[in-house]
Amino acid sequence: MRQFNYIFKRMIQMIPVLFVISLIAFFIIRLVPGDPARLMLGEKATNDAVAAIRLKYGLDRPLPIQYLKFMRGVLHFDFGNSLKFQVPVWNLIVSRLPVTLALTFLSTAISLLISIPVGYYSGTHKGGFFDRLSNIWNLTAIAMPTFWIGLMLLIFFGIVLKILPVGGIGGGFWGHLKSFILPAFTQSLMTSALLTRNIRNAVVDIISQDFVDFARSKGISEGEIKNKHILKNAMISTVTLLSMRMAYMLGGSIIIESIFALPGIGKLTIDAIFARDYTVVQAVVFIFAIVVMVINLITDVLYSILDPRVKY
């Protein structure tokens, strides 16, 4: 029950942030140098056509009115039409969001699968050979250009070994999965390194605490010590880092999706930026921010479940 109140409270707190985000999205199209109407039609458009567009989109009205109109559309999932594709922006987003979300969640899953065991082992064997190896690898993985790693994997598995597709999204479940392996792995490299480091340091800290010894003095198994006492405590700080990394990886999808030609929001964004398709740009900015806020909300709730000391 406490959690429900907490979620409600957090959602109320999100409203002003959402308002400012909507303002930012609204102004993107108007901050771009030049007349938005002319931008939409291209350089060669006649003045009459430009004037018609201005009238159609209400660009001649005062800004507050324009904003209200924009927001009314947003509340009905109407972000206008893509200037390039001439289809509703919302449809474009709906068809591409699943790819990006799948990529982000898969990368997150891979990161956790690597970082929890490695971080735990490093932490419990601090200073050992494996720990030092893992530390050096983490430093390395954090410092490597993601797009280069992506290309390397693509060359190796796609071009040399020819066992994984070089790009695009395959058909069927296995096809999809296969085309997600390389992008998700690339995306997860840096995150798994950061998470490993975090979990390792947390474990080092926790295993020297009295409650672990006290738990051991009860005669319970090492497995339970590990799961209930060490890892669960280590996950508290990790959850916050994880949410930051998920937000980062959402943004990173722009680079990953353009390397692996995955039809997600990231690819849509970069294409829209090159095509100066600003209705799409403003919509994706809005959507990205909302997804990040949802992730943060889930994180806060998860955190409050994990750590009972959090005050609501």
Partner: protein
């Protein structure tokens, strides 16, 4: 065991220093490393694989990749350093003042950071560049606009803790001016955490800047820059791998160099802090 650990730390620190030193040397005196001009076109030699003549091979215009990498070091290094230093000062000062005086400035700052943080980092950088237009200057501006927040948050948090510590309270009671307390008492104690972060931030800024060029948003051809070189090579990846693989390798090594150096520096600052 302790002995072993410190010697292994020393080795990584030295390796990091050597790598970073070499890259700095490339950036300052590119001529020592290569005789080729990075933008000289030689159509006869286009897409030739790595050889003694062209260490990293050539691209579709016959330009020497190795010399492009050497000359590109300056821009990538600058992106890393300038992309870090400016936010370091802006964010650090904003965070310190906000925490020390609290009140409306603090609330606005925190609100602004909360909102900005709702956007994924890369999206923010890309959108800012797309509004400002392509080009290296706009990459800098985007890095600055996004980068200061981490420093502001970090420094603000540190100052908030220290502000209520006994020695700052004592300094206040003693009637020292705010300026003196901020500069002489708070600054030295909060700066090391920010420096530690800044060292890792150099890599992040360098990688972000290069990613922008790789996407075609930052440095424009024919200027040599690591991300841009790789972007140009992307289309030839299936038969002229060297255009993307080798510059990226140099970039990865540089990043690792900074990372190792930063790790050593962090250790040193932490030990000094104790």
């Amino acid at each position: 065991m302790r002995k072993k650990k410190s010697s292994h730390k020393k080795v990584t620190f030295i390796v990091g220093s050597v790598i970073v030193g070499l890259v700095v040397l490339m950036a300052v005196f590119p001529r020592i490393f290569t005789k080729y001009n990075p933008i000289d076109v030689d159509v006869m030699a286009s897409l030739s694989p790595p050889s003694l003549k062209h260490l990293f091979g050539t691209d579709n215009y016959g330009r020497d990749i190795f010399s492009r990498v050497v000359y590109g070091a300056r821009i990538d290094l600058m992106m890393g350093v300038l992309g870090t230093v400016v936010p370091f000062f802006i964010g650090g000062i904003a965070g310190m003042l906000a925490a020390y005086y609290s009140g409306w400035f603090d609330r606005i700052l925190i609100g602004l950071i909360d909102i900005m943080m709702a956007f994924p980092f890369t999206i923010l950088v890309i959108v800012i560049i797309s509004i400002l237009g392509n080009g290296i200057i706009n990459v800098y501006i985007a890095l600055w606009l996004v980068g200061w927040m981490s420093y502001a948050k970090l420094v603000r948090g540190e100052v908030l803790v220290l502000k209520n510590s006994d020695y700052i309270q004592a300094a206040r009671v003693a009637g020292f001016s705010d300026g003196r307390i901020l500069l002489r008492h708070l600054l030295p104690n909060v700066v090391s955490a920010a420096v530690v972060y800044a060292v890792s931030d150099i890599v992040l800024c360098m990688l972000t800047g290069a990613s922008m060029s790789f996407l075609g948003l930052g440095v424009q051809p024919p200027t040599a820059e690591w991300g841009a070189i790789m972007n140009e090579g992307k289309s030839y990846i299936s038969y002229a791998w060297w255009i993307t693989v080798l510059p990226g390798l140099i970039m990865a090594v540089t990043g690792v160099g900074f990372s190792l150096l930063g790790d050593g520096l962090t250790d040193y600052l932490r030990r000094k802090g104790r």
